[in-house]
């Protein structure tokens, strides 16, 4: 694995492990009894600081990027190039009045954003963000991640129901229905990786991908089943985080703002934060499962710190999220559901079979051929058939034409 002289250079090794050393050094000041707890607390603090910081940066870059996509300039008033815009937004949301509707269910209304943010934060605990940089190395890390993801659905429902607003409730129902539908796909596309790796532990999944043939890594996206799985995962992740083109739950043209219509001030900011954090965590999981986690894209780049690669890949996925948001129009509800249950889910199930085939065919070019042919043929045929059906493809208007 370590191929280049830079990789063995103590400076780069230290740089790679700088956060681990820093944590150990800080914890070293405490008595030995407290050290394990303090280490975990330090990790939590780091996560709670880093990801909201990234969130702040992402909001401004998203707005600027969307602006550029639409040939606009984007925010450029607060600070140099508008970089302090999130600070202004934060102050604004902190100083805004916190409105709770008169007939709202105050306790549930209050709890919903908290449950959302807490469960989303929990997901980061099992993501390996660099070599030796995982907060809790769980045997069933992947399962933990999905368990936490499932719990966020409940918070969405809580928010929608407790607001006593028909738009909120409709948005919440849509969001929950959408999240359930796509969660199946999310799970099944991840199962393919588990089948190959034979482990639910995320650090082990990264370790399995951190090998090189020549200069090229063994990332799962570079296999036929991995590419198909990654595509399905990306679709499901977009739907799971309610991002465009799957942002029906907050379709402002029909639902005002969906389940967080009745939230204002800091509670709204929490929802916003939770949404972006979910995007980060789901990108982080996708990176870990298919894009080799913190491993370098070429064997001669191993000397670059592992955490750089992880965050680089996550931010790249975020960029693709923004790019898609700037490009694709919103789906209709029936299109959304038909797409999930009639195309994505069958294809993911087929991908599971192909993955099993890949696993048991043994090394060699034969499995590449067979798996690629099956997947491409299935994609083309299913695409043709589905696009022809009236529920899925082009809509024919009875009166407008």
């Amino acid at each position: 694995m370590i191929a280049t002289p830079e990789a063995t250079n103590p400076f780069f090794v230290n740089l790679d492990q700088i956060f681990v050393f820093l944590s150990n050094w800080l914890v070293g000041f405490l008595p030995a009894v407290l050290r394990p707890v303090a280490g975990v607390v330090l990790g939590v603090v780091a996560i709670v600081c880093v990801f909201p910081g990234l969130f702040a940066l992402t909001t401004v870059f998203e707005r600027k990027g969307l602006g550029r996509i639409q040939n606009r300039i984007g925010p450029n008033r607060v600070g140099p190039y508008g970089l302090f815009q999130p600070v202004a937004d934060g102050i604004k949301s902190l100083t805004k009045e916190d409105i709770v509707p008169l007939r709202a269910n105050a306790v549930v209304h209050f709890l919903a954003p908290l449950v959302l943010v807490v469960t989303v934060f929990m997901g980061f605990a099992v993501l390996p963000m660099g070599r030796n940089m995982v907060l809790v190395d769980m045997d069933a890390g992947l399962l933990f991640f999905f368990a936490m993801g499932a719990a966020t659905e409940l918070s969405v429902f809580m928010a929608g129901w407790s607001s006593r607003n028909k738009y909120s409730l409709l948005g919440a129902m849509r969001a929950v229905a959408q999240m359930i539908s796509y969660e199946v796909v999310l799970l099944l596309s991840s199962v393919a990786v588990v089948m190959i790796t034979g482990s639910l532990s995320l650090p082990k999944i990264v370790a399995a991908q951190n090998q090189y043939t020549g200069v090229f890594p063994h990332w799962y996206i570079f296999t036929p089943w991995g590419l198909a799985g990654f595509l399905m995962y990306a679709i499901a992740a977009t739907a799971e985080t309610n991002r465009s083109p799957f942002d029906l739950p907050e379709g402002e043209s029909e639902l005002v703002a969906g389940y967080h219509t009745e939230y204002s001030g800091f509670k709204f900011a929490l929802f916003f934060l939770g949404e972006y954090l979910a995007m980060f965590s789901i990108s982080g999981l996708g990176t870990t499962l298919f894009l080799g986690g913190w491993s370098a894209p070429f064997s001669f780049l191993v000397w670059v710190p592992s955490w750089f690669w992880f965050f680089g890949k996550v931010m790249l996925s975020i960029f693709v999220f923004i790019w898609m948001r700037g490009t694709l129009p919103r789906l209709r509800q029936d299109q959304l559901m038909n797409f999930a249950w009639k195309f994505v889910l069958p294809f993911t199930l087929l991908n599971l079979l192909v993955t099993a085939l890949w696993r048991f065919m043994g090394e060699g070019w034969a499995r590449w051929m067979v798996c690629t042919v099956i997947l491409v043929a299935a994609y083309v045929v299913m695409g043709r058939v589905e696009m022809r059906s009236e529920h899925f493809g082009r809509r024919s208007y009875r009166y407008a034409e």
């Binding site: 549930v108 069933a140 929950v176």
Partner: protein, 166 residues
């Protein structure tokens, strides 16, 4: 260790009691979620990671949502006018007591109720997986078949629903 257990037990029991005692149906659904979460944490406290996470994933992620959907799709979240307590509450009480007695008897009579001194066996996810597709493969397949049948049944019900208005 014990303190954690008592806190979790109290949480689970409080969730369960709230489920029974609260009037608003959606509140009950949320309270039962708390009970589920407490149960999952109890599993985790017993070092049963897989069971704990599966509990959260299945019960909070699916069952609770299902309950909530069922409530919202079948009735309004308003309180019924004639109270929420059934007229046959006494019968219910008797049945509940009987079920509780049977369960208690089963738990107390089982071997594992006796405190064991030997070390806790470490069950990894891998072991569970091997057991599922090895020793218990027949029950697993039967469950899978049953679920497939249920899914097909649900689809058929939904299809009939759709054709009627034409």
């Amino acid at each position: 260790m014990n303190a954690v257990f008592y806190i979790l037990a109290a949480l689970t029991l409080a969730g369960g009691l709230a489920t029974v005692l609260l009037k608003q149906l959606v509140h009950c659904a949320l309270a039962v979620t708390v009970a589920f979460a407490g149960l999952a944490l109890l599993f985790l406290q017993l070092d049963a990671q897989f069971a704990g996470f599966a509990q959260i994933l299945v019960y909070i992620g699916a069952v609770a949502i299902l309950i909530v959907f069922a409530i919202l799709l079948t009735r309004g979240s308003e309180l019924p006018k004639d109270g929420v307590f059934s007229k046959t509450w006494f019968l219910g009480l008797v049945i509940a007591a009987a079920v509780f007695a049977v369960l208690g008897w089963a738990v107390l009579a089982s071997v594992s109720a006796v405190p064991q001194q030997n070390a806790v066996p470490s069950v990894t996810v891998r072991d569970i997986g091997i057991a599922l597709v090895g020793r218990y493969v027949l029950p697993l397949e039967i469950v899978a078949l049953l679920l497939t049948a249920a899914t097909i049944g649900a689809v058929i019900v939904a299809m009939h629903e759709k054709e009627r208005p034409r």
